[in-house]
Amino acid sequence: MDDLHLKLADWLWLLPLGLALYILHLPLLGFWRADVPALLVLLFCIYRPRGLSLFAAFAVGLLQDLVALAPLGQHAIGLAVLAYLAHSTRSWTRLQPPLKQLPMVFAGLLLVELIHSLLRFGPPPNLDALLSVLLACLLWPPLVTAVALFRRRRAV
């Protein structure tokens, strides 16, 4: 039974990612769409006990490409690069308070936007894209606090 719980817990990260994809596609949000899937990939890479593998991040990106009718590989490459950066800085980032992590989060999400623009042969990210990155950064401290609370409750 415990094994089953562990196996289920291994796949639980897919639920918030599904929810993030859903939020991203809500038509009411207009241009104020934060790249929540990228934010969650970053969060899982840093705070999930075993992280999130590059292949899993790539697969999430492929799913995002298929759902968003985008060319296959566009989001996948961006999320794989983001996951690699998160893994490289994981031990340092985890020691910092959420507010001090913000520059790294901003840089990571902006890099994802730049990769998307580059792969589309399009212009660099416009003001809307920058605003959505900033909005995603604002979501970071509450998310990290929620993860910390969740882990504390599980530990108790």
Binding site: L26, L28, L54, G122
Partner: protein, 285 residues
């Protein structure tokens, strides 16, 4: 005893994995844009993704439900009066069109044109629009069960919207004329000049390619589909000239067009089916 140092320094495992994934992603991007290898995946997925778009469209569904159920009697009467007026005007247009069509048919017969292409239309409803502002694509609720085919033109009440790119069983994906990867042949209604209207990546703007600086173009000129290439039928409105710039750095005019179709707001679309029919030669020929 220590192992000897490797002759060639290998990158760390994570970096190798990342490089492998980037290569895989680039291969997928190339295969998707240059070949039709990934089309079967898209075809299957367009039907899988449709319920997801339905679920995310709850806001619009609720607004429609509110409009359907909470309208006051005065609003309904006003709507009925407006629709009655519109219907009268449209009936008059239909009569004029019918006589013009008959005249056109007989003229074609006189000219010896072998066939006349008529369009039949099927109503399709918009299911969803991807969140990416650079992806000018839509999902509609018609697929190969409804005899939809790739390349089929799509219009709304204002003019040409785009064309079908991926056809699933019950749903299809269409590319808008404003997509940066789309272009269609057009002609000016007033002067007859032909050009190519390319998408700009902005829903409100198309650009004309390779227009000579001495071309007779005025602000407000209407552009219609020229029918060249065979994808879009002749005569459907595409856009109006919004600005004309003669830049010294370019040998061509920079002409910007405002699409006549409502590319962001239309929920009801029409799929055009071409049906060719022979014209009987006129009596006495």
């Amino acid at each position: 005893m220590n192992d000897p140092a490797p002759i060639f320094k290998r990158p760390p495992t994570g970096l190798r994995r990342l490089l492998l994934l980037i290569l895989l992603g680039l291969l997928l991007l190339t295969a998707g844009s240059a070949t039709a290898l990934l089309l079967p995946v898209r075809t299957v997925f367009i039907d899988l993704v449709a319920p997801f778009y339905h679920a995310t469209d709850l806001g619009s569904a609720l607004t429609e439900l509110r409009d359907d159920t909470l309208l006051s009697r005065e609003q309904l009467l006003a709507d009925r009066a407006r629709l009655r007026d519109e219907n009268l005007i449209l009936q008059r247009h239909a009569l004029t069109t019918a006589s013009l069509r008959a005249e056109n048919q007989s003229l074609r017969g006189l000219l010896g044109a072998a066939e006349l292409v008529e369009e039949q239309a099927m109503l399709a409803e918009l299911i969803g629009q991807p969140p990416d502002t650079d992806t000018h694509r839509l999902v509609i609720n018609r697929g190969w069960r409804d005899k939809v085919t790739a390349g089929q033109p799509v219009i709304d009440a204002g003019g040409i919207v785009g064309q079908v790119t991926v056809v699933g069983e019950r749903n299809s994906e269409i590319i808008l004329i404003s997509d940066a990867r789309h272009a269609l042949p057009v002609e000016f209604l007033r002067s007859g000049i032909r050009a190519i209207a390319a998408g700009s990546g902005d829903h409100r703007t198309l650009r004309l390619r390779h227009v000579a600086p001495d071309a007779d173009i005025r602000l407000g000129d209407l552009l219609i589909s020229s029918g060249l290439g065979g994808t879009f039928p002749h005569g459907y409105p595409v856009g109006e000239v919004r600005s004309v710039l003669n830049r010294k750095t370019s040998p061509f005019l920079d002409v910007r067009i405002a699409p006549t179709a409502d590319l962001q707001g239309s929920r009801q679309l029409l799929l055009l089916f071409a049906s060719k029919r022979e014209i009987a030669p006129l009596a006495g020929e």
